[in-house]
C-alpha cells in the first residue's frame, strides 16, 4: 500500500550532502582552489617553463617578465617553475602528515572512547599533556630532534597533529557508543572489534574528515615554517617554505621572491579551510 510509495521519495544521504555542498559558494571555491593546486603539482613538469634547478648568473633576482613570469631568485632560477615543483612538497607535507596523524590518532581515540577505564585515562592524560604544548612549537622541537629533511618534517608535523585527532575521535566515540544501535550490536553478540569498526568508526568519520581537511591547511603552514627555519625541505629542492626562507634576505631588493610563494601558501590554505567548512556544513546531520 502506501508504504512503497513513501520510501521511494527521499534521496540518498550522500546525494543530499553533495547537493548541499554544491549550493555553498565558498565551499565550491575552496574545492576549486584545492583541485587547481593539486593539478598544478601533478602536472608540474608540463607547466614549468624552466628547469627549476637551473642557475644562471646572468639572471639573478630578475623582476617578473615575459621570460621569467614570476621573476628569478638569488641564483637566477625561475620562481614560477620552482613554485610548481615546490607545490609538491607543500601538498605532500600537508596530506602525508595529516595521514600520519589520522592513522595514529583515530585508533587511539576509538579505543579510549569505546573502552573507557584505564585505557581512556592513560590515553587522555598523554593527549592533554601534548595539547598543552603549542602545535608549531611541538613540531619544531620534534623536527629538530629527528634532523632536517622533508620526511622528518612530515613525521614531526603528523605526530604533533595526532592529539587533535585522538581527542576528536574519543569524544565522538563516547557519544556514539551510547546510541541504541551500539547496544543492538552487543545484543546480537557482535565482538567489540566489529562494533568499533562497523558501528563506531563509520559514525565518527564525518567530523574526522572535516578536521583532516582543515588540519591539512595547518600542516602546510607548519611545513613552510619548518622549511623557513631550515628544518624542512633541503636545498636545492624547492618548497614554498624554503623559498620564503631565502627570500627573507631580499625583502626589499626582490619582493617577488617572497610575495608569490607566500601568496600560494595563503591560497592553498584558504582552499583547504573553505573546503573543510563546506564539508562540515554538508555533512551536518541536523538538517537531514
Amino acid at each position: 500500500m502506501s508504504v512503497q510509495a513513501e520510501a521511494i521519495a527521499p534521496r540518498r544521504k550522500l546525494g543530499r550532502a553533495a547537493s548541499k555542498f554544491m549550493a555553498n559558494r565558498s565551499a565550491v571555491l575552496g574545492g576549486v582552489l584545492v583541485v587547481i593546486f593539486v593539478l598544478l603539482a601533478i602536472g608540474a613538469p608540463l607547466f614549468a617553463t624552466h628547469d627549476p634547478f637551473q642557475t644562471s648568473f646572468t639572471a639573478i633576482r630578475k623582476a617578473p617578465s615575459a621570460e621569467f613570469w614570476l621573476g628569478t631568485d638569488e641564483l637566477g632560477r625561475d620562481i614560477y617553475s620552482r613554485m610548481l615543483f615546490g607545490s609538491r612538497a607543500s601538498l605532500m607535507a600537508g596530506v602525508i602528515s595529516v595521514a600520519i596523524a589520522v592513522l595514529v590518532g583515530v585508533p587511539f581515540g576509538l579505543l579510549a572512547g569505546f573502552y573507557g577505564g584505564w585505557i581512556d585515562a592513560a590515553v587522555s592524560r598523554v593527549t592533554e599533556a601534548l595539547l598543552a604544548i603549542p602545535f608549531l612549537i611541538l613540531a619544531i622541537a620534534l623536527a629538530a630532534f629527528l634532523g632536517p629533511s622533508l620526511t622528518n618534517a612530515m613525521i614531526a608535523i603528523g605526530l604533533s597533529a595526532t592529539p587533535i585527532f585522538i581527542r576528536l575521535t574519543r569524544g565522538q566515540a563516547l557519544s556514539v557508543k551510547t546510541e541504541d544501535y551500539v547496544e543492538g550490536a552487543r545484543a546480537i553478540g557482535l565482538p567489540n572489534v566489529l562494533i568499533m569498526t562497523r558501528y563506531i568508526f563509520p559514525n565518527v568519520l564525518p567530523p574526522i574528515v572535516v578536521q583532516a581537511t582543515i588540519t591539512i591547511a595547518t600542516a602546510i603552514i607548519a611545513e613552510a615554517s619548518l622549511s623557513f627555519l631550515g628544518l624542512g625541505q633541503q636545498p636545492p629542492n624547492p618548497s614554498w617554505g624554503s623559498m620564503l626562507n631565502t627570500a627573507k634576505n631580499f625583502m626589499t631588493q626582490a619582493p617577488w621572491m617572497s610575495v608569490f610563494p607566500g601568496g600560494a601558501i595563503f591560497l592553498v590554505v584558504l582552499g583547504f579551510n573553505l573546503l573543510g567548512d563546506g564539508l562540515r556544513d554538508a555533512l551536518d546531520p541536523r538538517d537531514h
Binding site: V3, E6, Y181, G184, I188, R198, P202
Partner: protein, 378 residues
C-alpha cells in the same frame, strides 16, 4: 527467590531473574560522587516458554533496566539470571555471545536503533553471518524472506534506514531481531514511539511472528492499553519493584494493587476530545535516588495509612497465580465491591481496546489466499 516467581508444576521456564537489583552511579569521578539511582530493586520473575509477558509501569520505573538485566546487556548489582535453568550471570564473553542468538531485543526508538551507516540488508544480514546461519547468496535470500515476513519489500535491502518511516524502521528492527532465529524477544516499548494506528499493526505483527516462530515475548509498556489483548501475564512495576503480578484478564477485571488501579484509570483516550483530566495519580514519581520508606507508593496512594510508610509490603502470592505487594489490598478490594463506586477500568480503555479489535477483525476479513503479506501499513 520469592513465591511469586515460582511457576505451577509442568510449566517450562525459559528465563528467570532472581532478586535482581541494579544501581547506577555512586562512584563518580575523583572529585564528585553522583547520587545512587536505585533503578531495579530485588526483582524476581520467571518467564514461561511461549508466553507473552508484559512489564508495565510509568516512565522511569526501571522497565528498560530490568529488560537489559535479563539479557545481560547490563550487569546486575545483585541477583542472578537463569536461561533455561542455567545461571548466565557470570558467563564469559564468548559463551554469552553465542547465547545472544537466542535472546533478542527490539528498541523503543526506531530512529536510534538502526546503524545509519549500514544498509537495511547489511543490518538484517549481520546476525545471520555472525552466527553462521547462511553463506553467500543464501544470506541475501534470507534477508529478502525476513523483509517479506515483517511486511516490507525485499528491494528495500539496498536502502538506508533514514529513508524509512518510524513504523517501517521498527519492522526492520524486528527483522534483525528475528534473523538469528531467537527463542525469546524483549520488546522495550516497541510501539510507544509510533502513531496509535501503526501501534496496532506492529503489535499484531509481533503476535503473528510469535505464533509462527514459537517465540516467547517480553513486552515492556508504559500504559496498559497496548498490551491488553496480546499478553498472557503482566508484571506492574513501580520504582524498581514489581507491585503486582497476574494473568492478564484478572488484572484488568479486578486490579488488586492501588497503583494498578490508578494505571488502569489513567489510560489516555485515543481521540484528543475524549481526554478528560482524570488526575488519579497524584504528584510525580518520587526520585529513585531517594526512595520513600515502607511502601514506595505511599506518597501517592489514595489508601495509604501510617503502616504504609513504615513497613515495606513484600510481593506475596494471593492465589490463582497472582501476587501483590500491598498491606491492605483485601480491605481496598472489599470496599471497591460496594455498589455505587466508580468502575475501576476507564471508558477510555475500552475505546483504545476497540481500536485493536477493529483492526483484527478487518485483518481477518482481508485474509484471502493471495492477500499481499505486506498488509496495509503506512
Amino acid at each position: 527467590m520469592s513465591e511469586a516467581s515460582r511457576a505451577p508444576a509442568g510449566v517450562d521456564i525459559i528465563l528467570e531473574g532472581h532478586s535482581l537489583s541494579k544501581r547506577f552511579g555512586g562512584r563518580g569521578g575523583f572529585f564528585e560522587s553522583s547520587p545512587v539511582v536505585h533503578a531495579v530493586n530485588d526483582v524476581s520473575l520467571a518467564i514461561r516458554k511461549g508466553e507473552t509477558f508484559a512489564i508495565v509501569g510509568e516512565s522511569g520505573c526501571g522497565k528498560s533496566t530490568l529488560g537489559r538485566l535479563l539479557l545481560r546487556l547490563l550487569e546486575p548489582s545483585e541477583g542472578e539470571i537463569l536461561y533455561q535453568g542455567q545461571d548466565i550471570t557470570r558467563l564469559g564473553a564468548k559463551e554469552m555471545r553465542r547465547l545472544r542468538r537466542d535472546l533478542q531485543i527490539i528498541f523503543q526508538d526506531p530512529f536510534a536503533s538502526l546503524n545509519p551507516r549500514m544498509t537495511v540488508g547489511a543490518i538484517i544480514a549481520e546476525p545471520i553471518r555472525l552466527h553462521g546461519l547462511a553463506r553467500g547468496r543464501e544470506v541475501n535470500a534470507r534477508v529478502a524472506e525476513l523483509l517479506r515476513t515483517v511486511g516490507l519489500r525485499p528491494e528495500y535491502a539496498d536502502r538506508y534506514p533514514h529513508e524509512f518511516s518510524g513504523g517501517q524502521r521498527q519492522r526492520i528492527g524486528i527483522a534483525r531481531a528475528l534473523a538469528g532465529e531467537p527463542k525469546l524477544i524483549i520488546g522495550d516499548e516497541p510501539v510507544s514511539a509510533l502513531d496509535v494506528s501503526i501501534q496496532a499493526q506492529v503489535i499484531n505483527l509481533l503476535e503473528d511472528l510469535k505464533g509462527r516462530f514459537g517465540l516467547t515475548l517480553v513486552i515492556v509498556a508504559h500504559d496498559l492499553a497496548v498490551i491488553r489483548h496480546m499478553s498472557d501475564r503482566v508484571a506492574v512495576m513501580y520504582l524498581g519493584e514489581i507491585v503486582e503480578l497476574s494473568d492478564v484478564d484478572p488484572l484488568y477485571e479486578k486490579p488488586l494493587h492501588p497503583y494498578t488501579q490508578a494505571l488502569l484509570q489513567a489510560i489516555p483516550s485515543p481521540v484528543p476530545q475524549g481526554r478528560t483530566e482524570r488526575q488519579l495519580l497524584q504528584g510525580d514519581v518520587p526520585n529513585p535516588t531517594a526512595l520513600p520508606s515502607g511502601c514506595r507508593f505511599h506518597t501517592r496512594c489514595p489508601h495509604a495509612r501510617p503502616r504504609c510508610s513504615e513497613e515495606h509490603p513484600p510481593l506475596e502470592p494471593v492465589g490463582e497465580g497472582r501476587s501483590v505487594a500491598c498491606h491492605f489490598w483485601r480491605e481496598i478490594q472489599a470496599a471497591a465491591e460496594h455498589p455505587g463506586d466508580p468502575p475501576l477500568a476507564s471508558a477510555t480503555l475500552d475505546m483504545r481496546l476497540e481500536l485493536y479489535r477493529t483492526y483484527q477483525t478487518r485483518k481477518a476479513e482481508q485474509a484471502a489466499p493471495h492477500h499481499n503479506p505486506t498488509g496495509g501499513q503506512p
